[in-house]
Point group: D2
Chain length 137, copies 4
């Protein structure tokens, strides 16, 4: 699990800011999810397809966020995804949002559970995904 983290760039628009002039704190969770979605896509998996073919969805079950520096409109941010652990029905990820490699704006530890798309009950992560995750992440 020492592969370099997956990186995804996100531009900040007015929609992401609030009247304090800074990025609204809840929007960091949206940025983190976009990066996780693109990380899965880079491994060959699209969540809408997984839902149709395997009847699974991924849901956040815990998120620990540390806001270190504010972000502003028009900034181009880099969001990282690193796999920290995997269980039968959940994944643990370390994520960060940076302005540049030396300036981390927000760090997060996020656990996502694999759920049945109809019953919302925990469900084993499809083996084809686990196989990709063991190749280096």
């Amino acid at each position: 699990m020492s592969a370099p983290p997956f990186l995804w760039r996100i531009r900040v628009y007015y929609e992401d800011t609030d009247a304090t002039g800074l990025v609204y704190h809840a929007d960091y969770l949206r940025f983190f999810e976009r990066a996780r979605t693109e990380w899965l896509r880079s491994l060959g998996f699209e969540q809408s397809a997984l839902r149709r073919t395997d009847s699974v969805i991924f849901a956040v079950v815990s998120a620990n966020l540390r806001y270190l520096e504010p972000a502003r409109v028009d900034e181009l941010l880099e969001v990282s995804v690193a796999l920290r652990g995997r269980a039968r029905a959940s994944l643990t990820l370390a994520q960060s949002i940076s302005r540049d490699p030396a300036t981390v704006l927000c760090e997060a530890d996020i656990r996502v559970a694999c759920l049945d798309a109809a019953s919302y009950r925990p469900k084993r992560i499809p083996p084809k995904i686990l196989a990709e995750l063991s190749d280096g992440d």
Copy 2:
């Protein structure tokens, strides 16, 4: 169709504003929909129940918005809903957002279509809803 409009109060929070210091323009559409939802609820209909029991959803098919005055965080706004027309599978509504009766911030003409919840194809509005709409709106 000369009944007084339905009114619904909405508080502006930081989440609704952007870095210009004003309410973000797309959020007015969220405010308008909250008021339409509460208008339907006041008539005895909950959209999640309609979806389960009648397999219908309502989708916006057109929206004409005029932004007249900006709104700011902490303001308490009043959102109106007035039925302007109904067809077999759609409703036309006139809506506005006001700071006080004399100060309209945004006006909208919105048409919503009744769709089948599974196929997303146009579907006749359930008669029980039309019956309530003819009672004065």
Copy 3:
């Protein structure tokens, strides 16, 4: 600090849900902030006024979220705010979102810092706020 928590009711609208059929995880942070805003308002403080008169804003510096049960559209949720600690320039709050007293959907530990509204640097919480917080919370 053993006063009963402040409670605020929030209705779930379509805007708060995603294609899984459940409330989108980032929106819980919006719900938590609405309740904190109303808690401050119940103590006599409006954030927009504090910004103008005292040049302070409150910013979330950490949030630990545990998602226990999903919420769905049309539900009426109850959001709580309990003060757990206060420092010179920050407050620590325990918050939860419940469907009913027996069913907690999400729990959060949230720390907000008091910042200067122009420089975004830490700033002492205005004494008039601390005075209200010591009266029971």
Copy 4:
């Protein structure tokens, strides 16, 4: 004003959808604004810089939206921007969102006003912007 429209690609994430399974109607306004922001950036202008150096912001004053086909999560959409008119203090734009060139999902006529960033009153569009707009758009 017969130049080809500016095009910007946008990926649909779960954050953009609602419990009907489709993209939430208000989010199209966010997509349209992202494209307008990138169009201005492609002409050499960043809105945060314009605000600092010229004390101007752009605000939507009217938006006429026609929703033709729904969009779903994971789709890659193309958003267009075409200048249709310019006045002393406002621009009129025709925009669309397409799945592919043959499938338009949403069309919009949007007017944005140039405002003073402090007073929010109409203000002449900076000549350097008008100069770029006359070069072909």
